[in-house]
């Protein structure tokens, strides 16, 4: 009888294996639409099925009793349902909820242009910055081809939407940078101190930015440095204006990159005549280092340092008596140290913390002696992010700024050294929440609190932005915010207790973004108040300074970029209309400031020609005339320069896989541009004031460079380091 028992056993087992029940149903989204391709299965078994085009699924299982039925689909939150498997078939319908997908979801685009390597939403990439003709591989130079900026050729800084260059602040890894531009003699353009390729992401905000950033009235340039480099390399460059060498070393968890650059424009200026008489052409030595260290899984510790020593000396003829020449020598010493740490603490919390230090000293040598202007700044900041839900995130943090500004004047009547300066401390805190009501609608609301020890004033600045996705590729956003900034050093050093200058921004934006094409149009209104006004006749009298200036700026910015229509061609067009007036500083009445122009236009064209392994770029920039004050005519700032035109060109040629030749020429057509006029202080025989045009030092600037890269992988080249 033994055999039958075994037989029976096997029979039962076999029966058991074959006892199948079916599970079927439909999977739909929250609107009842079928979801195709969803995975529906019994947890931890092979049993399951994918939904068909009607959302229907059906599968057989031999399992019995209590199980969990799981339904998953990309972009939707997984659903787990208890199910009791018994006789016959189980029918079950499942509804999946859309998951918040930050990649697909609406983003806040009002007022912001971002550039980065990773995400496709970026308007400009680091490579775009260096390959933009006319940018001279300068971040500000490239950003000046975006709408919202005004061409101010004698400054080289970013002038945004009727704001002055001082109203744009630069942040590296969230930390403020003081004197982000090289020191330059008056009416010659300065360059940004930082190479575009240090950064993996650049966010250029033309207004309405997050409560995390303060102390900028018009614009924030937010730069995020690269993380760990992937390959060791050594780079050399020989350029018409100098030489540089750089190296990157990588260890298991750390990396170090260093670069040293020597700039000497003497040979170039000897060759090509400049309108400005130079006693000594610009010479500079510049060093950079970056250290990265990975901590645990997500932590990243970064140190970045920069030092710069530069010197230039010019002789400036007096307008009234041209035979009298005044010396103006400028020596600058600059140190910047930025350390930051960021980490993901757990599922919900992440942390960003940093410390930055800036030291800058300008020694201005004039015939009477040396004027020194010194600035020390420290900035410490910590930001915590808390993901309350997938749809709701809160950022909050605090920061402290300390700044010491000193100015030394050696030539008083009794030859005593006089010093003017101040110590400013700012304590600030902010909180901001991002709420995604759906993938289509996002609201960011925040507020910033700031206390200034100089003015002894606390201020609360609310910020609000919203975005609504109107289609797969389009969205509208709006932004509002109050912004404030300590008055310029030259005023605060006289009147220490001046209040911050303030501006309110209102922005409405429409953006259409598809694969390789971008269109955006933005309208804005800016209301300026508490601007500094002073009496021109008594500039040293602290009681003659008031915060009763005001002004406004309004306009429309349009941008179109197309990387698709023409093969190997990338172009963009920017147009900005600006209407602005202010009554501030020494203005007797409301007038347009001299740095503003009503119309700005840029056309940037880049063409990669595979056959000759070269990229050629053209940029045409136009700006309508800028106001200047003509004391010979009635009215204030009533004169207007002729309009500005510049056609620049560049070419990068890949000679070998690791050698690049790069050349650029600005103002190819040699148009004579005038930025404004300076007037003498005394009337000539005809009873009029003589004037001198503020113009570029030479009609064109020509640059040539060879960039060589050595690495284990020969494919690396200097493209990203130009």
């Amino acid at each position: 009888m033994k055999k039958p028992i075994l037989f029976l056993f096997l029979f039962i087992a076999g029966q058991h294996l074959m006892a199948q029940v079916s599970v079927e149903g439909y999977v739909t989204d929250q609107n009842g639409q079928p979801i195709v391709g969803a995975n529906v299965y019994l947890q931890d078994t092979y049993d399951g099925a994918s939904t068909d085009t009607t959302g229907y699924f059906s599968f057989e299982t031999t399992e019995e009793g209590d199980w969990v039925l799981v339904a998953t689909f990309i972009g939707y939150r997984s659903e787990e349902l208890p199910i009791i498997l018994g006789d016959g078939s189980s029918k079950i319908n499942i509804s999946l909820k859309e998951e918040l997908n930050k990649l697909e979801a609406v983003v806040i685009s009002a007022g912001s242009f971002s550039a980065g390597e990773e995400t496709k939403r970026e308007v400009l990439k680091p490579l775009d910055i260096v390959t933009t003709a006319g940018s001279s591989a300068d971040i500000a130079g490239a950003l000046n081809t975006l709408p919202g900026t005004q061409t101010v050729g004698e400054e080289g800084r970013l002038f945004v939407r009727g704001g002055s260059g001082a109203e744009t602040k630069t942040y590296i890894d969230g930390m403020q940078v003081l004197n982000a531009y090289n020191s330059a003699i008056p009416n010659t353009p300065s360059r940004g101190r930082f190479s575009p390729f240090m950064f993996k992401g650049t966010s250029f905000s033309t207004g309405g930015y997050s409560a995390e950033y303060g102390q900028a009235l018009s614009s924030a340039l937010i730069l995020n440095t690269k993380d760990m480099p992937v390959q060791e390399r050594v780079d050399f460059s020989i350029m018409s204006v100098g030489v540089d060498a750089a190296a990157t070393k990588i260890w298991d968890k750390s990396s170090f990159s260093g670069k040293i650059q020597y700039t000497n424009v003497t040979p170039y200026f000897n060759l090509i005549k400049q309108s400005l008489e130079l006693e000594k052409s610009p010479v500079a030595i510049d060093g950079n280092f970056a250290f990265r260290h990975k901590v645990r899984e997500h932590g990243m510790l970064k140190f970045y340092g920069n030092f710069n020593k530069s010197s230039v000396s010019s002789l400036l003829a007096d307008i009234d008596s041209p035979e009298v020449k005044t010396k103006y020598q400028l020596d600058n010493h600059y140190y910047y140290l930025n350390s930051s740490y960021r980490d993901v603490l757990n599922d919900k919390w992440s942390l960003k913390s940093g410390f930055a230090f800036t030291y800058s000293k300008d020694i201005i040598g004039v015939d009477q002696g040396n004027i020194a202007e010194k600035q020390n700044g420290m900035h410490a900041k910590t930001v915590l992010s808390y993901d309350v839900l997938t749809q709701l995130a809160i950022n909050f943090g605090g920061e402290v700024f300390h700044r010491r500004y000193q100015r030394f004047l050696p030539f008083t009547a009794d030859n005593q050294l006089t010093e003017a300066g101040f110590d400013e401390q700012l304590i600030a805190g902010f909180v901001e929440a991002d709420l995604y009501t759906s993938n289509r609608f996002v609201t960011r609301a925040g507020t910033r609190w700031e206390y200034n020890t100089l003015s002894q004033k606390a201020a609360i600045a609310p910020r609000l932005s919203m975005g609504y996705k109107t289609g797969d590729n389009s969205q509208i956003s709006l932004a509002y915010g109050q912004f404030q900034q300590t008055a310029e050093d030259r005023f605060v050093r006289v009147a220490n207790n001046l209040e911050s200058e303030k501006a309110d921004h209102y922005i409405l934006n429409y953006q259409w973004l598809s694969d390789k094409q971008t269109f955006r149009v933005e309208a804005y209104y800016k209301d300026y108040y508490d601007l500094v006004k002073f009496n021109e006749d008594t500039p040293d009298d602290p009681t003659a300074y008031f915060n009763d200036g005001y002004g406004h700026a309004q306009g429309i910015d349009v941008f179109w970029r197309d990387n698709k229509t023409f093969r190997n061609v990338d172009y963009w067009v920017s147009y900005s209309y600006l209407d602005t007036k202010r009554n501030y500083r020494n203005f007797p009445s409301e007038a347009m400031p001299t740095f503003a122009s009503n119309h700005n236009f840029s056309f940037v064209y880049k063409h990669f020609i595979t056959d000759i392994k070269s990229q050629i770029g053209w940029t045409y920039s136009f700006a309508s005339g800028r106001p200047y004050h003509n004391p010979n005519e009635p009215g204030f700032n009533a004169g207007k320069t002729r309009s500005y035109h510049d056609l620049s060109m560049n070419i990068s040629y890949l000679w070998k896989s690791n050698v690049i030749l790069h050349a650029f020429v600005t103002n190819v057509l040699g148009v004579k541009n005038v930025f404004g006029y300076e007037y003498g202080t005394q009337r000539n025989e005809a009873g009029r004031f003589d004037r001198r045009a503020i113009e570029p030092m030479a009609p064109r600037f020509i640059f040539l460079g060879v960039f060589i890269t050595l690495s284990k992988n020969k494919s690396l080249n200097g493209l990203p380091n130009l």
């Binding site: 033994k2 028992i5 075994l6 056993f9 096997l10 087992a13 195709v36 391709g37 995975n39 299965y41 947890q43 931890d44 078994t45 092979y46 049993d47 399951g48 099925a49 994918s50 998953t72 990309i74 997908n101 990649l103 697909e104 390597e117 496709k120 990439k125 680091p126 490579l127 992937v230 390959q231 694969d515 392994k613 890949l654 070998k656 896989s657 690791n658 992988n713 020969k714 494919s715 690396l716 080249n717 493209l719 990203p720």
Partner: protein, 212 residues
């Protein structure tokens, strides 16, 4: 009684063997689904099945291997760069699960190189430098783990070929690498039934590009 015990043991053994059989059978079926797939939907179907197997098995890396592979191919089939990236994100997520189980599996490390290559292909101009470096690094590691792995050699050769072309360098070295991979495809013996088989066709095509 002894016999019954013995028989029961046999039954138990048969059960265990059948569990393994079940895995292998299910995998083989789905692997051929992956190789035969030519639409996004077909890949998604295979991915769904493989996901179930992966979830149930816990310590098998093969399901994740084929999920990753499928998502990478889906990213190549997709036109929109945003969607390409989301497929690659899913590929990476699956690969991470596989690598957690078998961190030193040359085939998985090779797929990491493939994932980086896919990432690069979305935007070669801007991502070229970074991702070619990352891909080269892991592919080198994959070759070190198994110098016979023809897929690692093929991807390395193709990466070298791509960069040489992009940068205008010589393709000789790249082509030698591709040729070597083709040789290995001829001699490569899979360690087990579920091991990857793909790549020989691509290697032949790549070598044609080289003009051989």
């Amino acid at each position: 009684m002894k016999k019954i015990v013995l028989s029961l043991t046999t039954v138990a053994l048969i059960f265990t063997a059948s569990a393994n059989d079940k895995y292998e059978k299910a995998m083989l079926k789905n692997i051929s689904l992956v190789y035969e797939a030519n639409t996004v939907d077909a890949y998604q179907q295979a991915i769904n099945n493989l996901t179930r197997i992966g979830n149930a098995e816990k310590n098998k890396w093969e399901p994740y291997y084929y999920i990753t592979y499928s998502y990478i191919i889906m990213s190549f089939m997709e036109q929109d760069p945003g969607k390409k990236d989301s497929y690659i994100d899913l590929a990476q997520a699956a690969l991470d699960k596989g690598l957690a189980i078998a961190p030193d599996e040359s085939e998985l490390v090779t797929l990491q190189g493939f994932t980086h290559t896919a990432r690069l292909n979305v935007d070669p101009m801007n991502r070229g430098q970074r991702y070619s470096g990352m891909a080269t690094k892991v592919l080198r590691q994959a070759i070190k783990l198994n110098p016979e792995n023809p897929r690692a050699l093929l991807l390395m050769g193709q990466m070298m070929y791509g960069t040489a072309q992009f940068m205008g360098g010589s393709t000789t070295e790249a082509c030698a690498m591709i040729e070597k991979s083709l040789d290995k495809f001829e001699t490569f013996k899979s360690s087990h039934a579920l091991a990857p088989q793909w790549g020989k066709g691509q290697a032949t095509d790549a070598l044609k590009q080289c003009g051989n």
